[in-house]
Amino acid sequence: MKPVTTPDEPVALDTAFFVAWITKAAQAIEEHLTRLGELDAAIGDGDHGTNLDRGFAGVLRVLDTTSPRTPATVLALTGTTLISKVGGASGPLYGTAFRRAGNALGDAERIDLPGLAAALEAALAAIRKLGAARDGDKTMVDAFVPAVAALNKAAADAVPLVAALDATVAAAEAGAQATIAMQAVKGRASYLGPRSVGHEDPGAASTVLILTALRDTAREASESGASGEPGVNGD
């Protein structure tokens, strides 16, 4: 459909790409602030949207005033800022997820698909360890697990980036939808017991938004073919 300049990887997963992803994720959180708040109000304390939005707004300020040199640095700054700015449970959870994902990327200036899959795998492991949530507990883990599985499979099958991330997002969406039927055993929603059934978990919903932002960033970069230019991140 479009000319592919290199046989394996048309989109460069470089620092600019990761800045673009996080920027798009911040925009998505802001756009869906009301929906996330409503999902959270049904079973939680209603602050998931505003908390995450405050966190990502802080992330954008940090990325705007620093010039991260590697993808890992972008994710580390994102995680650290979310931890200090969010103020709810999603802060430490997403914060540690981004930081561990950044650690997994190492010093590489360009990441390949298996590297990206390994980073998301590390993020999931960090969320599981910190939150001690199991599959089916009606948390962000329930969106993350199928997403990571789909991305790992796509990477193993050498599926092109955008198609791999399409599969990742579809799996995350299905996982988030599956939380509707689940009963919460973590967080405020767990106090509702059976009454938590029938609502999508807001953490699973925000995980879908963040992964969708990743896919959309890849798609736009793939369509424009313009990713990888140094200095895209606003300096």
Partner: protein, 179 residues
């Protein structure tokens, strides 16, 4: 009658027989000017060991500080008890900066036991303990009820217990029955 305490004698016997001024309840030392000598061992005692500090983390600044006030009082006033409640702007939530500050303030060199109320307070403390290399060596999180655990920890800390024993005391508070 002879074994009756002096105070009662003074109160029931007419002044003309025995007055409080002539039979003091607590007689002064015979020679007050005599220098008081301490036993030999007192000067060779080791310096007082620092007490374990306690940090109370809540979504609410009022709740954290209220529990801290109670724990300080029941801990006898010597135990460093710090609160880390809410967000820096006063809102409800958890702030990793406030928790870190409180841990530093509560640390006297004997370690710090942290109690957290719910959800993100617990997660944030766990994250801080997992990640921070800069915190004092002995900082532990107790899996304890917030108020009862704080009081139990403060009492244990006031006795000079180490951080692990203070954490155990806090966690054992879960078993206290009220009725």
């Amino acid at each position: 009658m002879t074994r009756e305490p002096a105070a009662l004698v003074g109160a029931t016997v007419p002044d003309t027989v025995a007055s409080p001024t002539t039979t003091p309840v607590f007689p002064a030392p015979a020679a007050a000017s005599e220098p008081i000598t301490m036993p030999e061992s007192a000067s060779t005692l080791p310096p007082l060991r620092p007490l374990v500090g306690i940090v109370l983390v809540s979504h609410s600044a009022l709740l954290a500080e209220g529990a801290a006030e109670l724990a300080r009082q029941l801990g006898g006033g010597e135990v460093p008890v710090e609160s880390a409640g809410g967000l820096p702007d006063g809102g409800i939530g958890t702030s990793i900066e406030l928790i870190e500050q409180a841990v530093r303030a509560a640390d006297r060199g004997a370690g710090v036991v942290v109690l957290a109320d719910l959800g993100s307070a617990v997660l944030t403390v766990r994250l801080l303990l997992d990640d921070a290399d800069t915190l004092p060596d002995t900082v532990v999180l107790a899996d304890a009820p917030f108020v009862e655990g704080a009081v139990s920890a403060a009492v244990a800390a006031s006795s000079g217990a180490n951080a692990e024993a203070v954490r155990t005391a806090a966690e054992e508070a879960r078993g206290f029955r009220k009725l």
